[in-house]
Point group: C2
Chain length 351, copies 2
DNA sequence: ATTGGCACTCAGTCATATAGAGTGCTAACA
DNA sequence: TGTTAGCACTCTATATGACTGAGTGCCAAT
């Protein structure tokens, strides 16, 4: 409460202003920002020397650093963090752009796989970075129909259709051959028992009934249940992740190390890691930003990730976002990600 | 027949020997080969000066060239061509490696999509370059069964199963809603009419009958045929192409230009161009090699492609191969591609 | 608190020197 | 006639030093 503390906060406010200017400049040019440049950049009419003093303070606070004695200053990770958390002034997208996104996403015709792909491409196209859309919690849907078709060699093709029109199929290997009518019987039994039920429920029932089966049910039903068990499980863990525009990242000098770039690309084709990473943001609401170094994954050094979750019928089912260099234009990227998530949610809404 | 011509061919034979040695050396080291080095490399006991004379001849013939006056020689495209066409001594793979490939490919469990993916990964893994497998002529297969399921909003899910166990599904948009029994009727009609027929035949019949339909058939059948027409067409043009290990190419200095690398990667995600390129080798039998510059696609400059077609039941359905720097170890890559194609054909054989 | 001035540091650029690799040519040799 | 040794020459790569310009930190003046 003493004079000193008051003056402190005043200094800090101005310092923050400079920090903001510095980072915005750095994002534009990609080069260390010196006192002279910054002096011109901020509206305030101050001499470079003054700026230097402030920059020294900022450096002491760990918000900026200089690559070497006679270079300007560059934001540090914590500098970026502060910028993102409290200094950012996001622009709104103009209606034209919003409309473009909406149109683009409508094209897919409502087929979810298609739409997700468009969304990813859209994100990468608009931002010139890598776009990514994950689909983790599969839309809670219900059992519609199951069919079995005999193939040769004790193999059976199982087709499971869920209410939302997704088709899962899988080849099952059995211990003996089944003929067409046996399979039809099995399918009939299952369809009668489970049609319309929530998939989660189906899963439980199948397991449960399979336990009681030896005593109560005949062979047909046991077989049916066994097969159902297999395919029902498959349809569960189908996590997915669509990435687009990876090659855009090759343009950024800061990720220049071919080694790092390669690791990144490998992670993209592997997908698992990316998926795991983005899943952390499933439950956040609204846009989240995090900076590569904060994640522990060293392969994201120099990168930032901007994400937002999206919904189907009010329920979050995945996240979408953009991966690019930490030196990215957040003020533009944030609204893009935000809007895209909202529009995607709208498009995916089922009636 | 004069003395001169005889001596000429003698010179050429020796020159070819040197060319071979030079290219092999260059493939190993990646650096221009000088006369001294080459003198040691070839078994013959000749002085560097002699070698220089020969190299001058080779240069005159356009088989090698030197980047600058005081560097060694580097093979030219035509040099590589000659090497590949007539100088190459391919090694055979040892049984261990062959066995490894066979095992790896067996894993997929006969699901063709899976197996192709393994093949691609295998090629890239073994050669440390990019592996690619195309599937162009879809296995000539026959109609097994079709099903229609009503979704909401005048959308119908059509599921077509072919004899080889592939499942094609697609959402059809219709001009009015159909109920379950209408759809069942339609499916029944189609299944009875076409079960077991070759897909090509089915396609023709559908079109033909659709023409006659207005007069002879009732509404149900017309609808059925219309729907069948749509999905049958879809199942036709499903060309595909699986690429793996693209990032391996980042390791090669000769493709270092980020720009070229990016173009290459973009082509890989686009796939179309690659597919078109490889299709040229569908009808060649055995391993084919071609050098990027020869193709007209300037994006393959500095690259070579080694391909071999593979079959299902004696019929060629696609090609597989490896894309890497022109400076690649052909003597090893060729047998790998060759064997992989053979094993893949064996694995895909249907009984 | 702000500023001008000044000495200092450091990356980048240019010219120059030097070493090394390799060539082409010529003359000698078998 | 094919092969070889020798030699002058070319060109790259590398190191070196000088110089410039950008930018800093600090001190003393306002």
């Amino acid at each position: 409460m003493a004079k000193k503390s008051v003056s402190d906060t005043v200094v800090n406010e101005r310092a923050q202003h400079f920090l903001k200017a510095l980072i915005e400049r750095y994002i534009r040019d990609g080069q260390p920002v010196g006192s002279r440049t910054l002096a011109k950049d901020t509206g305030l009419d101050l001499s470079p020397a003054t700026i230097r003093n402030v920059m020294a303070d900022l450096e002491e606070m760990g918000l900026v650093s200089s690559p070497h004695t006679s270079a300007g200053r560059v934001p540090t990770i914590t500098g970026y963090r502060m910028f993102i958390d409290s200094l950012l002034t996001v622009q709104n997208l103009n209606k034209q752009e919003v409309e473009k996104i909406r149109k683009e996403l409508m094209l897919g015709g409502g087929e979810s796989a298609e739409v997700l792909k468009s969304a990813s491409q859209l994100l990468s196209g608009v931002t010139q970075m890598a776009g990514v859309v994950t689909l983790t919690r599969r839309d809670k849907t219900s059992f519609r129909q199951i069919e079995f078709l005999p193939l040769s060699d004790r193999r059976i093709l199982a087709i499971l259709v869920t209410e939302d029109g997704e088709v899962h199929n899988r080849i099952l290997h059995t211990h003996r051959d089944f003929n067409r009518s046996e399979l039809d019987q099995a399918a009939n039994f299952l369809n009668k028992s489970f049609a319309g039920f929530d998939m989660e429920v189906v899963r439980q029932r199948v397991l449960q009934q399979l336990n009681d089966a030896r005593e109560h049910f005949d062979q047909v039903m046991t077989n049916a249940l066994t097969m159902a068990g297999e395919i029902v499980n498959v349809s569960e863990n189908k996590e997915d992740c669509v990435i687009a525009g990876q090659t855009n990242l090759m343009e950024f000098a800061e990720l220049s190390g071919l080694v790092q770039l390669r690791k990144l690309f490998d992670a993209f084709t592997e997908k698992r890691e990316i998926l795991h990473l983005l899943d952390q943001f499933l439950d956040a609401d609204g846009v989240q930003i995090f900076i590569g170094e904060e994640s522990g994954y060293q392969l994201l050094n120099g990168c930032s990730v901007v994400t937002a979750p999206y919904q189907v019928n009010e329920e979050v089912v995945g996240v979408l976002g953009v991966i690019g260099p930490t030196r990215m234009d957040y003020e533009r990227v944030i609204p893009v990600v935000d809007i895209t998530a909202k529009i995607l949610s709208a498009v995916l809404k089922k009636h």
